[in-house]
Symmetry: D2
Subunit: 388 residues, 4 copies
């Protein structure tokens, strides 16, 4: 399958790249990119084959995400959120469902969501809140049961794809028992209001706006069918919260090198030793980061959540973020002032690349966790308070 998906991603990337400057300039959503993704069947990437999807592994996802990001990192980031939702839903095995007490009808509902994705629907994630960040333990969005299902009320921020997705994964806490955090798949439509707050340094086309909810959803939109599963799932699948970004930033770094090479060759500057040294070191660093992401992804498939797997996930996040930022800064310096004009790919990539280290878990947090592990400790127990 992934040969097909990977080929599709490679085929689409130049089309994304051709549109990237405009979306970056306007902060507009790459609607055409998402139509391309739908038509290529990539919304079903993480959907099990039995439900009509491509049944990709996490490693296959990572390879696809890197290729998409070589075209447009912002598109790849939004796609990443959809892949996270479908990937996490698809990864709930029958054994796990049984252990968690998920009723059969909830599994059926889950299957319907996944089948819809395979048919061309895509989902965004509405998790973060102002003040709480991405920390599930501090949410202020609440839900309560109604006759028709569930009523959700609250405000989310950094919701990539807001206003464009077919559904939103929303985390909320119970209005009565506030220690219970549950997740809902809220369909697009009435009751959702997008406040266009996203206007950022980089990754401008993600439309990561605020999303205000005052909406009632059917009963089967409670994921898992029982309340309180959100924290459990987060702990089971940290790779979707940490590592999936990494693949995107490897693509951004590689795109920066390619853009610099093209720029420098066009100006006959490829012979300058300083230029060659910059591109050579950038190439080696990017190749290394790509291998680390692939290794982390492979281990996520083999042994998700294991201590050693998590170390690779943190390494991937740390190296992809720092490498993208350093590579883009260095090759832009190699390319010179003419590459800083708005509309030049390097001008955008320099801004996009800076964002990787800032996504949770930040580079500094990953370095701390890795250091604890290298010293024989347990980051869960000994770590600095996470910023997410």
């Amino acid at each position: 399958m992934t040969v097909h998906a990977l080929e599709a991603a490679r085929r689409l990337a130049p089309r994304f790249a051709a549109r990237a400057a405009e979306h970056d300039r306007d902060g507009s959503f790459p609607v055409d990119d998402f139509r391309d993704l739908r038509e290529a069947g990539l919304f079903g990437l993480m959907v099990p084959r039995a439900l009509g999807g491509l049944g990709a592994s996490f490693a296959e996802y990572a390879a696809v995400a890197t290729e998409l990001a070589r075209g447009n990192g912002a598109t790849a980031l939004v796609f990443n959120m959809h892949a996270s939702v479908t990937g996490a839903l698809g990864a709930v095995t029958e054994e796990l469902a049984e252990a968690l007490g998920v009723p059969d009808e909830a599994l059926a509902a889950r299957d319907r969501l996944l089948a819809a994705a395979a048919q061309g629907s895509w989902y965004a994630v509405a998790m973060s809140e102002r003040g709480a960040g991405a920390r599930l333990s501090q949410l202020s969005t609440v839900y309560e049961p109604t006759d028709e299902g569930w009523h959700l009320k609250g405000s989310k921020t950094f919701c990539s794809g807001a206003g464009h997705a077919d559904g939103y994964l929303v985390a909320a806490r119970g209005s009565t028992d506030q220690s219970v955090v549950s997740q809902f798949l809220v369909p697009a439509g009435d009751g959702l209001t997008v406040e266009p707050t996203w206007d950022a340094l980089g990754m401008r086309a993600t439309s990561s706006h605020d999303l205000h909810l005052d909406v009632t959803v059917p009963a089967d939109r409670l994921l898992g069918g029982v309340e309180g599963l959100a924290l459990v799932v987060a702990q089971l699948m940290p790779h979707w919260l940490v590592a999936s970004y990494a693949a995107v930033y490897v693509g951004v770094a590689r795109a920066a090198i390619d853009a610099a090479a093209e720029h420098l060759n066009a100006r006959n500057l490829a012979g300058l030793p300083a230029v060659r040294a910059r591109l050579g070191r950038a190439d080696a660093a990017t190749a290394a980061a790509q291998l680390v992401v692939a290794e982390a992804a492979r281990r996520v498939d083999d042994a998700p959540g294991d201590a050693e797997t998590n170390r690779w996930v943190w390494r991937a996040k740390l190296l992809a973020g720092t490498t993208a930022a350093e590579v883009a800064a260095s090759v832009l310096e190699a390319a010179g002032t003419s590459a800083t004009r708005r509309g030049h790919p390097l001008e955008r990539l320099y801004r996009d690349a800076r964002c990787g280290s800032l996504h949770p878990a930040t580079s500094d947090v990953c370095a701390d966790w890795l250091g604890i592990a290298a010293l024989g400790g347990d980051p869960d127990r000994d770590g600095s308070a996470p910023r997410w």
Copy 2:
């Protein structure tokens, strides 16, 4: 004097800072900043006291430029061009004028230009051309004598302040003897057309647009009164072509640290060890770059053009450029995603800071020259072909 000028710069900086976001967003020229500069008498900073100016040294200029840049680096960069013109004109001593064969009436004309600056006029520089960069030896703008004076025709690029200055220092080559390069001070007005091409990653408010010339100027607008002095002056005053940028980027780096500290304190994140390590190292690097710029400037005043002076000039350019970029990138990472929203000072400073290494002579070129000198060679003789 400079106590006064430095105090004025410090007083103005917060006003510039308050306007910086808007000008950065729109790419609009900071008209109000320049009115403030005029009212503070700073257009006369480099004008000899005998001509009504403040008679500042290069070291005093550097200190003022750094303070202005803490408010808005773009404003400081444009001001730098005016200071370069007036500084270079003011630095032509009678001895030098005699040695170069400058006629008395040319000195008188020079004095009128300087006196006008002291009165509130300011000048931009129209040197670079597409294809030629800033290399005087490859200009395509030409001039020829006419009955009224000189006719100039050609196109310039990267002309900071285009459309706003009262006059433009224009380099052109003779239409008959193309080896002769002369400089003119062209007054604003008819015959000059601004093409708004400047739309860049950083330093967006400099209005460094293209300037098309098809204009006749009076005879006394030929600087020096004799043709062919442009290259001579360039060689005599390399600090204005290289080091004057450096002071600006030290201010940008310091502004980034200050903005990060304010941001982090407001969010109660000052206690995070990784945050402290980033700000501490940024502070030390910036303080060092500031001292190097001051030392270079002091030596320029004492022994302009000396080999050892030039080494300090290159060190200043190299360190200011690299430090600003690294400092801004690191403290933005410390501040986190919320500081990447457009309109946040760090979002702008991160982009502005990347530009310092790219101004000629680039960081890589400066490193090469310094390496040659450290190895006992002569960069003029042994250096890589400069990119400017």
Copy 3:
């Protein structure tokens, strides 16, 4: 096989580590380490199974070398030379032999050398000369035919294992036709004199002394049986000249992290945030370098000499060398002054680690080649003059 070999390497590493301080102090050859290697059968690592060896791939070699280097990098470096000789000899297929015009008796002689290695002999490399470095084109050691075989006369330097090996791979040029460079496997014994010149910053136990030759060897000691094959083989197997070092330095970097962690835990300093940040970043960088070495090795096995394979070889050499040096410097800083006492593992590892970037091709040369390739060029055609 390699499971066995890798396990053996892991079993031996702590024994090497226990002896490393003494050999480093005295600059003495790790005789006991080599006895261990012999007894573990590792001299046959690269010898085809048909000749009694383990028939390891290059990737398997790299994994073994890294594990050995975690014990003692110097031992691993000497072992690397033996592996290079046996690996290159073993890699000459019948097709290649036929294409090169290698006579049958030469293949039989080759097989005897390999079988001897499988039985416990090991070989060193005597290639470099003062003045010529490792450049085959500039050798001054000469050979001429005699009744008994070949007479070789000249002096070599940087001959790791000199005085301890059972045989030496010697490159020499013809005394009549100086453009012909041939290689001989010279047995230890009379005619070879070791001049103990090796007394270096790091990797002190390699005994990389000078070797003076005035010796006659039997006719079948001319490798390949025909003169002039040396340059051909060098071009066919660049990985043994470049990448095989890389695996060693990954082991050195990992050993430094492990030693730092042990040191810091023993002093209850593992909780310091700066310590954790240093170890975390060191861990990520080392893990990345290890993956790059493994990837390069895998590609060497699959497509030796291909352009893309060579890029991975250069990346491996660049990253392993720079990573080892940076990691050792950083974790030594984390560990503090008490770890700088002679005899402390980190004291030695800091010195050993600095050597990786200096082996040919140096890090700077690799960066140049990678830059050329990233810019679409061909390093063989466009590269700086190599320093080896």
Copy 4:
């Protein structure tokens, strides 16, 4: 005066350099260097003119120390300890003495010690203890009054110059009231035993051995004449505990650049672009560190102990330490394997240079303190527990 002292230092540096390799190899004390220092009158550098000394300022000391370190960093480090003792003693003004309750006879005793230094005596510092480090609050060496004066008993470590100095500044705590820490100037002779424990990576010639004390000293050897002044003095003069090292490491960095340039020129490698880039960036970084040290020293003279002065002291310590290590590592890489032979200046300088960041306050601690200050905090209040 300092013109004289600085010239003397410059004159002596090449002599120190010529002896450095031998002392480094053997770990022997540079006896001849210290005879040279005595003969040049430099033991009186910090002694007030009224007592026969040169009356140097801290800034003058820093300049001298850097020049000495260009010859041999180890010699400069030991000299630094003597300068610290005489500088701190000389800096106690009559006002301060009165405020601290120092009796007249103690000032007279102090003057005798300083006058002896001006005559050619020199003093070492015996402060650190195993387990306690340099933290005065955790000393185990005790003193008690006797009929003849004071009896001291305990063991010190890292006592640079042990066995060669004419006297030792010893910190000890009272045997009855353990919260009282006092300092004594113990003359060389019976009761002091040197245990040769110093055998380190770098700065090997400092003879920083262990010193065991079981000795009685005359009453007037209690510095200040009253017990308990040690902590007060430490707080008043932090520059002698932190910044004085920095000047030494600037000299080490500059020596490394000079040695690399000489090595590369001798081999006709000065034309390699990568070599030039390395030396150019090393030159700029070292020049910057030197300015920061000079600025810190100037401020120490003007406003010792002020908050802003202390920031400059930390900047100096941080930048000198990190710069020396990075510069030496980079220029050694530029110079190549032939510069790693023992006895080559770069081989030694690479090891010496690594030590600067490790002296208290370490680079990581300085970065933390600077970060706290940049964030508006007070390192004394908010800092991590210092490691010294």
